[in-house]
Amino acid sequence: MRGAWAIATREMGSLLRLPVGWVVIALFAFLSAVLFVNGTLTPGQPATMRYFFASASWLMLGVAPAVSMRLLSEELRSGTIEPLRTAPISDAAVVWGKYLGGVLFLGLMLVPTLVLPIVLWGVSDPKPDPGPVIAGYLSLMLVGMLYLAVGLLASALTSSQTLAFLGALMFLVLMMVLTGTVSQAEATPQWMARALAALSVQARARDMAKGVIDTGAVAFFLAGSAWFVLLATAALQSRRWR
């Protein structure tokens, strides 16, 4: 556990020492502000951030793979995986440490957006209900964690950051199309439509953005994240045999 935490803090620190980390933070903050101004800060609208959280979860689609793409790919490319994997630390601890580092970074990335509910609080009357805002941030974090885990798996499969980014993005878009458009198509058999809808990230994120914290949805995100992290561990372990 100490090893995983050491890797997590190093990863988080490295992301902050690299331009890519600050670019991601700045871009996410800027786009969040644009979404907030256009969708939420409209005169006559109810003081709710529902639109912002629903849209920001779409932003995560590009942002999370951008954060995760270097987690393992860069270690594989530069050869730093060798001293890492000959240290007294398991492959699982390496992968969980990397994941935790990415999650910490995502959390940090959300910090500048906290100014948005403060602004909404300041300019609206009646004041917004804090419950949905907290639930919205929780949903953003959970969506980001799931997407990050998918990106981590892609990163464990290739030493190219670009391929890791594109692989994760394509998988997430494909899942979104399948669980959204395809599940709602008339030609889709009922059983398949139900199965695909049950895997929908966006539907759960929308519900949580309304302020509904469903433990089933939380479990879905956490279990999904853990599943992809375990797959990433298996992918890393399989490299020893190649």
Binding site: R2, A6, S14, E82, P83, T86, P88, I89, S90, R240
Partner: protein, 325 residues
């Protein structure tokens, strides 16, 4: 300290390591030599636990590197080829991170970091980003990381890769210092470096160990010489062929030939010869001197020539590695 038993490793159809066995006693410093693709790095990676062997076992101080991997890894300091490091970190931060991975408690970690920075002479650049350091300094940071947890076993893959001659000399001195208190396996292409640093040389080719011994035993410096340099004078009109003909036929002599470079007074009948003895023929100097005297040749030089490690390397590698020598 290190016991390797019959390890083998294939990558697809390529058999990188084929039944390598070796034992390194505590305090021994061994050099692993071989041409590219000989299986050196794969062997080292198996010993450090980075790669699993398809078959065979490795143990470090009695700990099996597969079943007791974490215990075995704590005993090994490893510098991989080209010293891969995180360029965005400072040397000090990187070493601190490595200390955390080896579960060094904070106070001990801080002290260990400062000690290895000092020992590897990186102290003055410890706060600079690794990416901004020269290759030589990066190599030193890698070595410092390998030493950080004070391991009894050090495994260094091409430790002087990319260093300038001064840095190579410094690295060699440091390695010698470190070897005094550790078991060390050193992999290098640079033969003089191995010869000067190691008290045992292991030569690999084609995934096998082809030769294993002290530098002296491999180059023949310890036993009877195998090769001799000789300068003799005969009738100037007779030429080198006559001289060689008169000396041929001595029991134990495998070959006599005129060297490419002849003495400046060759016109006066002097010929420089290289004589190669048959294996196990013993010291041939007396026989050669006697035969020359009987043939009326005047000898002004007759000395044994030691085979260089480079020549041993070429001979062993070309002979193709037919198992442990």
């Amino acid at each position: 300290m290190i016991i390797v038993r019959e390890i083998a490793k294939s990558f697809g159809k390529v058999r990188a390591v084929r039944g390598v066995s070796l034992e390194l006693a505590a305090g021994q410093i061994a050099g692993l030599l071989g041409p590219n693709g000989a299986g050196k790095t794969t062997t080292i990676r198996i010993i450090t636990g980075y790669l699993p062997a398809d078959r065979g076992d490795v143990s470090i101080a009695g700990y099996d590197t597969r079943r007791e991997a974490m215990r075995a890894r704590r005993l090994v300091g490893y510098l991989p080829e080209s010293a891969p490091l995180y360029p965005e970190m400072t040397a000090r931060a990187y070493l601190d991170h490595r200390g955390k991975l080896f579960s060094l408690e904070r106070r001990r970690r801080t002290r260990a970091v400062e000690e290895v920075l000092e020992r590897c002479r990186v102290g003055e650049l410890a706060s600079r980003r690794i990416g901004a350091l020269s290759k030589g300094y990066r190599q030193r940071v890698g070595l410092a990381a390998a030493l950080l947890h004070d391991p009894p076993v050090l495994i260094l893959d091409e430790p002087t890769n990319g260093l300038d001659p001064n840095q190579i000399r410094e690295a060699r001195t440091l390695i010698r210092e470190l070897a005094a208190e550790r078991t060390m396996l050193l992999c290098s292409h640079i033969l003089p470096e191995i010869e000067r640093t190691c008290d045992r040389v292991i030569i690999m080719a084609g995934g096998r160990i082809c030769a294993d011994g002290t530098p002296e035993s491999l180059t023949g410096a310890g036993g009877a010489p195998r090769r001799y340099a000789m300068e003799v004078r005969s009738n100037p009109s007779a030429g080198a062929g006559y001289t060689i003909g008169r000396l041929s036929g001595i029991a134990g002599v495998a070959r006599i030939e005129a060297t490419g470079e002849q003495p400046s007074d060759a016109a006066g009948g002097w010929t420089r010869l290289r004589v190669e003895g048959e294996p196990g023929a013993g010291d041939l100097r007396e026989a050669l001197a006697g035969a020359a005297a009987d043939a009326g040749l005047f000898v002004r030089e007759l000395r044994p020539e030691r085979e260089t490690l480079e020549e041993v390397f070429v001979r062993v590698v070309e002979s193709g590695g037919g198992g442990n020598a």
